[in-house]
């Protein structure tokens, strides 16, 4: 820590109370350290977790969220929404290793200038004890800076890597604007990369038969969307047209079309590459959740960050260093999604625990990493190759350090990413398997007792169409005495859960989810078992909200495969209700 380091704090304050309280500190000439700059919002209810994560990801040492006292909200109840979100986010910050102490929630009224001033003094003290944020600020990529040299007071910007303008505005949620395209980029360079992409992904072999469009679940719902037409443009070399096309972000990369394509065009990989080009061109793309999830991933690329995930494995058998034949268990994002989506009835927080308990039952003592990070799948598929690679490199180092030679994942996205993309971007070449494959190899050892239920299975795109794993989840469910009823679309034809990589969720996604839940309910199954936590989140999101169809048509319980098996193996008492993250945080995150 350099001697003259000063913490940088972002304040986000509501207009009526906290911002007014800060003004009051001024009117009363109360002195406090100059480390904070405030962004004014009308109500603390406006505050999206994405704002806070963006600040941290750009290197803020602390974020202060402040609004009106509990019963005093100018907008009745906006501050209660703020409270729930900030408290849930505090848990996430603990999980990723940044620590909840860097995020403060304060209720300050318009006349509490002293409280504001004291709050800043105290926060600065705390942050000085904590030291600089382990996340360093990125720097704008050359050619996209929007600021000319500012002179001496701005000297000494911290820099580690480059940042594109598109990335900077990501999560804006508004439609792409032509004017935002960086004229600075050199189209000829872009063209070369693009032609290589076209060749690599087999687009040149396209017969223009239109089978892709006919089979695509998005095209069925959005007539402006057509993979075939995009391919046509690619063949004409219209790189810019594709990369500035709003529809580039509508593809789910679900690979349904690829099952039908007679010439083996890998459309999903083409889209992945085209998105990367588009990002390089300065496109912001589309993201749901205001880009919060992507920023959460990006900030995990900071090598100095020290996550701690061991709490999930308390009382279970795990190792830190691998012997020759030991599996490394890679848990993925489950712990922080549970906290981040505390307002949805998602139940994914226990996946790591259930997975390791099942592995133990199978006689496997896995290596786990306290400092495990996100695999970065969603960055990669959102076109953000550079951030993905940075994250993958950090993870690859950590994985190598354990000495493990093979990895088992409970998440199909981690599976694909570690098996395929880590090889390309981080030079990690290990055997990777999904937990269903590992457990199915010796299902008898799990001591599963007959549930006797009728269930149905979601074939997650990454697990099924991408990695070819269809049978192991079914075998395990059969071993648990469940009768697996198949949905109208199953295995290679399975309907995707409607969102991938947190890109472009919306009307079309909801329609697919409702269709999928209807198929599930129509089988007569009580439970829809999913081997993918993302499918579980997206489908739960759909079924918990308002519906365009009568609720009984989609009435089916959604459960993660590991949770289902752990229950059948007697490893959990009962499916626990999602833990309300706010209750856990209420005494810490609050004033």
């Amino acid at each position: 820590m350099s001697k003259d380091w000063e913490p940088s704090i972002l304040g986000i304050c509501c207009n009526w109370c906290a911002y007014a309280g800060a003004d009051m500190a001024g009117v009363s000439r109360m002195q406090y350290p100059p480390n904070v700059e405030i962004i004014r919002v009308m109500c603390s209810g406006r505050i999206d977790p994405a704002f806070i994560l963006r600040a941290f990801r750009l290197g803020a040492d602390g974020v202060l969220v402040a609004g009106c006292h509990e019963a005093d909200c100018h907008y009745v109840s906006g501050n209660q929404s703020a409270r729930r979100r900030v408290e849930a986010l505090a848990d996430v910050l603990d999980t990723v290793g940044l620590g909840r102490d860097r995020l403060r929630l304060r209720w300050i009224s318009a006349n509490e200038g002293a409280l504001f001033a004291e709050g800043i003094r105290d926060f600065v003290e705390t942050l000085k004890k904590l030291g600089p944020s382990p996340i360093e600020a990125p720097k704008l990529a050359k050619g996209v800076t929007t600021r000319t040299q500012g002179g001496d007071v701005f000297a000494g910007g911290r820099s580690t890597r480059n940042l594109s303008r598109g990335e900077l505005h990501e999560g804006g949620g508004s439609p792409l604007r032509e004017s935002e395209l960086a004229s600075e980029s050199d189209p000829s360079v872009n063209q070369v990369d693009f032609q290589a992409l076209v060749a690599e992904t087999g687009v040149l072999n396209c017969l223009e038969c239109g089978k892709c469009t006919a089979s695509c679940p998005v095209a069925r719902r959005d007539e402006t969307f057509s993979p075939r037409r995009t391919i046509e443009k690619a063949l004409e070399g219209l790189a810019e047209d594709i990369e500035t096309d709003r529809l580039l972000w509508s593809c789910l990369t679900c690979r349904t079309c690829e099952q039908r394509c007679p010439s083996g065009v890998s459309y999903s990989e083409f889209v992945r590459g085209a998105r990367a080009e588009a990002k390089r061109l300065g496109q912001q793309g589309r993201t749901s959740h205001s880009g919060a999830n992507h920023d959460l991933m990006r900030l995990q690329a900071a090598p100095k960050l020290k996550p701690n995930r061991m709490a999930a494995y308390e009382g279970l058998k795990v190792k830190e260093k691998a012997g020759k034949d030991d599996w490394l268990y890679f848990a993925g994002c489950a712990p922080y999604y549970q906290a981040l989506y505390s307002e949805l009835p998602v139940q994914v927080g226990n996946i790591p625990r259930d997975s390791v308990a099942l592995l133990n039952r199978a006689g496997i003592v896995p290596v786990v990493m306290a400092a495990e990070r996100c695999c970065g799948h969603d960055l990669l598929w959102n076109g953000d190759v550079e951030d993905f690679a940075a994250l993958a490199r950090v993870s690859a180092e950590a994985i190598k350090a354990t000495g493990a030679r093979k990895i088992v994942t409970s998440c199909p996205e981690c599976y694909r990413t570690l098996a395929v993309d880590f090889k390309e971007h981080a030079g990690l070449d290990l055997e990777v398997k999904h937990i269903s494959e590992v457990l199915a190899a010796d299902a008898g050892a799990l001591g599963l007792s007959g549930t006797g239920e009728v269930v149905t299975v979601q074939d997650a795109c990454r697990l099924g169409r991408q990695m070819g794993v269809y049978d192991p989840p079914r075998e395990l469910l059969a071993a648990a005495g469940a009768q697996v009823a198949e949905m109208a679309h199953t295995r290679g034809d399975a309907l995707c859960c409607g969102v991938s990589a947190w890109v472009s969720c919306g009307q079309c996604s909801k329609s697919m989810q409702v269709a999928r839940l209807k198929e599930a309910a129509a089988t007569g199954a009580s439970t829809l078992v999913t081997p993918c936590l993302k499918c579980s989140i997206h489908l739960t999101c759909a079924s918990s909200g308002e519906l365009p169809v009568p609720r009984q048509e989609v009435d089916v319980k959604i459960m993660d495969l590991t949770a289902y098996l752990a229950r059948a193996a007697g490893l959990t008492v009962a499916a626990e209700e999602p833990e309300p993250a706010m209750a856990a945080a209420s005494d810490k995150g609050d004033a």
Partner: protein, 638 residues
């Protein structure tokens, strides 16, 4: 005091201006109205309510002159701001308030070099007439399409500068402020640090300014008619206040007759006859041509928003639709039916209001009366104080002592709510020999029968043993609870109730007669149990507030409202459930549900945008993009 003397208004023994319970804002001199603590000790909400009532009374006299002297301001046409941002930055010295600590020249120089900034200057006082003129000149001379003022706080000065921009042909929303005084020069001493922070703040504001969009101001015509729900004394007073300002009123009463609870009361502490006064008020409203009375009628549906409510009235046999610009809720309350104490089993046990009627009707006969206070109030189920029952007991006790000086009166109480000037009656009652005995809330008194005699048991902290009191009559001061059907009405109007089921106001201290939703007001016991004078004051205030909306003619709605990106909307309804103003609804669009915002109801809080997971709804002027730009600017990556 001397001012009071000069006006010639009467005052009471304590020097407070005299007002009556049925005309709580009126003094003894017509045209002079009293408010606040000048007319008695009171708390903030009551003060605000009475101030509003006094204003309404004064306005009624002036209603004929409304808008006689107003001139409509003309603005130049708005210029097209869709091109590249051309931002002008104006850095204020504020005399030495800012320049004394911040190097404003340096800030200006730095601002000049920011992307999108084409012009910057410093001003001694930006908000002076001269300073504003310089902004207008610069907008013209440099073809500015965005303006940033680095000065004091937008909370006080944004309206002025927005107006300045508009006068120069810029849309009001193309303006942004950097708070370099209240949040910088006034709170930091070190010149270099303060200058750096000021520059940071300017950079953040410029970053946001570059992404600002011109927004329309919505003008909504107002239906100049009010609806008052509930025809008790509060509803009557509200209707009268609105009609006095020259507006038509629909007064809707569920029962066959107007008058409400007052028709059941016989006296007030100050010796007036509430029944007669209520009957007077009913007659007055009945003869007022502007008031249309609908008895035996309820409100069955309400849609629309401030200025334009569509209301369905249900009179049992027929339904009728009316339009209203504003609404007053005055549905009052009712006596809680007591449980225990042999209530309903022995006819010598009755409520205090029943006792009051017996006394007034000359049917009172007893040698020893025991009164039990707080029956059903201030308990777990109903934690509030019903406010009128202590006064009712005092009134009854004094009447008994007057009619039968020999009769014994024992009041069993927890605390005596003889607030304000009621304390005098408490003193009078004690002087007349009324016994006041405190009981312990954990061990409330019980009533039993010994043979045929009524027996009251009470444990008092003032005496050691449990007392057994033989009584001829037991009067229960029971709680007041909300009117039946309040919950349904709250759902129809989309306004909140408190935990006890009374309607809740927008702000407990500062907005005592407003609901959070624009155009709907509340008065009387519907809001909380209270006395006649407070109810009437609140009703006059609510009537005045309701009339002020009608007087506007058109209603200017905020332009920075929430906006839905239909393609990204999942129709999940989360935004609908978090919006505090019921401004969002889900509508079927093909096979999907899609959120849509009513701009007239939206207050731009942004709670919907903070809650929407799929980034489908945002609030204009505080979009993700704009906020992200400011964050990036703060972190020096832009």
């Amino acid at each position: 005091m001397s001012a009071v003397a000069e006006l010639g208004v009467e005052h009471d023994n304590y020097g407070f201006i005299k007002t009556g319970p049925f005309a709580p804002a009126d003094t003894s001199v017509p045209g002079v109205y009293a408010l606040g603590a000048a007319a008695g000790p009171r708390d903030i909400p009551e003060t605000v309510a009475r101030a509003t009532a006094a204003a309404a009374r004064a306005q009624a006299l002036l209603a004929g002159e409304r808008n006689a002297l107003t001139v409509k301001k003309e603005y130049p046409e708005e210029k097209d701001a869709s091109g590249e941002p051309r931002i002008g930055v104006f850095v204020c010295h504020c005399g030495s308030n800012i320049a004394g600590t911040v190097d404003v020249e340096k800030v200006k120089h730095l601002a000049e070099n920011l992307a999108g900034v084409v012009y910057a200057e410093t001003n001694l006082y930006t908000c002076s007439a001269e300073g504003c003129e310089k902004i207008r000149e610069a907008i013209a001379a440099h073809d500015l399409n965005r303006v940033v003022v680095a000065a004091c706080t937008p909370r006080t000065h944004e309206p002025l500068f927005r107006e300045t921009c508009r006068e120069a042909g810029l849309n009001r929303y193309l303006f942004e402020m950097a708070n370099v005084r209240d949040q910088c020069s006034w709170v930091h001493k070190d010149r270099e640090q303060a200058t750096k922070k000021a520059a940071d703040l300017v950079r953040m504001s410029v970053a946001k300014a570059g992404l600002l969009k011109p927004l329309p101001m919505y003008e909504i015509p107002v239906t100049p008619v009010a609806l008052v729900i509930g025809g008790g004394i509060a509803g009557l007073a509200a209707a009268e206040a609105i009609a006095a300002q020259g507006f038509e009123v629909h007064l809707v009463e569920r029962e066959k007759n107007l008058g409400g609870n007052l028709l059941k009361l016989r006296t007030t502490l100050s010796g007036e006859n509430p029944y007669d006064r209520a009957a007077d008020a009913v007659a007055k409203v009945g003869s007022n041509k502007l008031v249309k009375v609908h008895t035996g009628t309820t409100v069955s549906a309400v849609s629309g928003y401030v200025g334009n409510f569509q209301v369905e009235l249900d009179a049992g046999s027929k339904k009728e639709n009316i339009a209203a610009g504003s609404i007053v809720v005055a549905t009052g309350g009712r006596e809680w039916s007591p449980e225990g104490f042999l209530a309903g089993e022995d006819d010598r046990v009755m409520t205090s209001s029943e006792l009051e009627r017996r006394i007034a009707d000359g049917k009172f006969e007893a040698q020893r009366v025991v009164m039990v206070q707080c029956v059903g109030s201030r308990c777990e189920e109903r934690p509030y104080c019903s406010r009128v029952c202590c006064g009712l007991a005092l009134k009854n006790a004094l009447s008994i002592k007057e009619q039968e000086p020999g009769a014994e009166v024992i009041v069993l109480y927890r605390d005596l709510m003889a607030h304000g000037l009621k304390e005098d009656y408490f003193t009078l009652a004690r002087e007349a020999g009324v016994v006041f005995l405190r009981y312990n809330p954990d061990e409330p008194p019980t009533v039993s029968k010994a043979g045929d005699a009524l027996q009251v048991q009470v444990a008092s902290p003032e005496v050691d043993e449990t007392l057994e009191i033989a009584a001829d009559l037991v009067a229960l001061s029971v709680a007041i609870v909300p009117a039946e059907g309040s919950k349904e009405l709250s759902e129809i109007l989309k306004v909140p109730l408190d935990a006890a089921g009374f309607f809740s106001e927008a702000h407990i201290k500062l907005r005592p007669v407003d609901f959070a939703s624009d155009g709907i007001f509340l008065a009387g016991v519907a809001h909380s149990p209270k006395e006649i004078s407070e109810n009437i004051a609140q009703a006059q205030a609510a009537g005045g507030r309701a009339a002020s909306i009608l007087a506007r003619g058109v209603f200017a709605a905020e332009g920075a409202v929430a906006k839905v990106d239909e393609e990204a909307c999942r129709g999940c309804g989360v935004c609908v459930s978090v919006c505090p103003y019921g401004a969002i609804s889900l509508a079927a669009k093909g096979e999907a549900l899609v959120a849509s915002v009513n701009p007239a109801l939206c207050k731009s809080c942004g709670t919907c945008a903070g809650a929407c997971l799929s980034t489908a709804i945002t609030t204009e002027h505080f979009t993700n993009e704009q906020i992200f730009a400011a964050i990036a600017a703060k972190m020096e990556v832009v």
